[in-house]
Subunit: 331 residues, 2 copies
């Protein structure tokens, strides 16, 4: 079977590709496990270091309908649509945000609909779709009231995935991802960047800035659990989803203070970098508007796993990513 990953050069795209290539098989539109014969990574600027005979890189702009029509051809049985402009960028450039996050998604859905079969399609949404006065725990029943253009376009994408699936044009599913921790790479301008950098940077001997108070909680999930969830969602039969193909993933709620303490616990014989507590009211305000905790009875019933503990998340970073991360600074 042929699989297409949009945003294939991104943090999740690359990890998903490696995981799929290792598995070698995925459930196809017929509901049976099929051998992965071709894996296409599509991105605006592919920059991927994975070498595998089954892999093909295609560079292009997802907001161009013709490019997407060529990308998603008759052979395509399964699509992971991860491509997106992130929150801060969509706030800075309103038109770009909607062109990529809404029009790009519509192009993917239309290309999928045009196929003679209904391909499987996994869409990554986000807990950033919630906002505007939330309950302490966000659940399956919580209304999405996004307060950013990014969150708005993600809800719109979910709605379209649901409607195209209801009509039988695709066999879609959308996952609302919690904040990823520990993300590798460098700190960025995302208001959530501290949820990774205050674990990652000190373990690499570098100082990290925390712009929020110690008591600030965040619903988090490790990269490994998120990749497992993306694949599990694509494996589930359509009937499992019920009246909506959208699903909230269960993050675990961790405060900034708990992260700081966890880093100390996993110090080992490392010379840790410091955590610089530099309160930033603007960032505190954004983060306060996000879900503090999430709980999804549906996701648990469907067999999605959450992380056991913050310690396990820190350990996974040390085991899987610390060496590569350290190499990044010396490149």
């Amino acid at each position: 079977m042929k699989i297409v990953i949009t945003g294939g050069a991104g943090f999740l795209g690359k990890r998903l590709a490696k995981s799929l290539l290792t598995r070698g098989r995925l459930t196809g539109p017929e509901g049976t496990q099929e051998k992965i014969t071709e894996l296409v990574l599509f991105d605006i600027a592919p920059d991927i270091d994975i070498v595998d005979d089954r892999l093909r890189y295609i560079s292009g702009d997802i907001s161009d309908a013709e490019t997407v029509t060529r990308l998603i051809d008759e052979e395509t049985a399964s699509i992971f649509h991860l491509a997106a402009v992130v929150s801060a960028q969509a706030e800075d450039d309103f038109d770009l945000g909607y062109r990529i996050n809404l029009d790009g998604t519509r192009h993917v859905l239309e290309a999928a609909r045009a196929l003679p079969h209904a391909p499987k399609l996994l869409f990554t949404s986000s807990v950033a779709t919630y906002g505007g006065g939330l309950p302490d725990v966000v659940t399956d029943a919580t209304a999405q009231v996004p307060q950013t253009s990014y969150g708005t376009a993600k809800v719109m994408g979910e709605l379209l995935v649901q409607d195209y699936s209801r009509k039988g044009y695709i066999d879609g599913r959308s996952l609302r991802l919690p904040t990823i921790s520990v993300r590798t790479g460098l700190p960025n301008k995302a208001a959530s960047t501290w949820a990774s950098s205050m674990i990652r940077e000190p373990l690499c001997g570098r100082d990290a800035i925390c712009p929020v108070s110690e008591a600030t909680p965040m619903a988090c999930m490790s990269p490994a659990k998120i990749i497992a969830a993306l694949i599990h969602a694509q494996e589930l039969p359509a009937e499992a989803f019920g009246p909506t193909r959208s699903l909230l993933l269960p993050g675990i709620s961790i405060t900034a203070g708990e992260m700081a303490v966890a880093v100390e616990r996993h110090k080992g014989n490392r010379q840790l970098g410091k955590i610089l507590w530099q309160p930033d009211p603007a960032i505190q305000k954004i983060v306060d508007g996000w879900p503090k905790a999430t709980q999804s009875a549906r996701a648990e019933k469907l067999g999605f796993e959450k992380d056991d503990s913050l310690d396990e998340m820190v350990r996974a970073f040390i085991e899987d990513d610390l060496e590569d991360q350290l190499a990044l600074y010396t490149d």
Copy 2:
């Protein structure tokens, strides 16, 4: 001030136009009452019998961006965006549904954003945006899980109105309308048509079909209360809305059986038509998926009025519309 009503030849558009012309004034973007100098009714096929110096008819296709850009010009201070393809039609023609209900709405928002000022914009959404396993009473906190393309595009429109407002491009507000009862005109293919026809038709001496059981409830609102709500929403200051510009309107919950009894109560000396109970499982299923009752603390706090009783709704139909309705059959 200049006002534009899209869908201006429709059932609500015409009534709204008459009501605005009678008022003569409306609160503009500056927050002060201004004299209505021009009222433009835009529709695919204007067919309007209102004569007034301030009124202008423009016929055109809302899915054509250039048409909409010409329509919403620098003079436009206030927009009522009512144009839409209805539920059954959007189910029959997927592309037409999204072209009118989503792309049309985006054209209106883009034309408004291009103006040097941020115009007021009222968008009509619907309780058909709810579905997929609802609580007994739909409230402000209920998540929208639409089960039709019409409902999907209406939620998307609400999200865009909210985001364009948040960015300051427009001063928007969206109302989720309950089922309108009593609608005038002829029974149509809408699954909700019985909620008007079983009151309207017998009072005109004609038989009406009721395809649902006597116990089936529906959240309803009279045309007069809906028109009052559209104007009230446009009059309110932006700050009144809080974290979302979307608002659920409070319908009153009425069963089919209660409607049948109410018609008898208002028989007077009329020769009533009969109600033919002809259960239709397909329609029963659709209607069972809609809100049975709605309750909005926010709308009540903001001063939106609901109907006092079914009797008042029947009386309003008899007083305001029965003569015109009878004339319709003899035309």
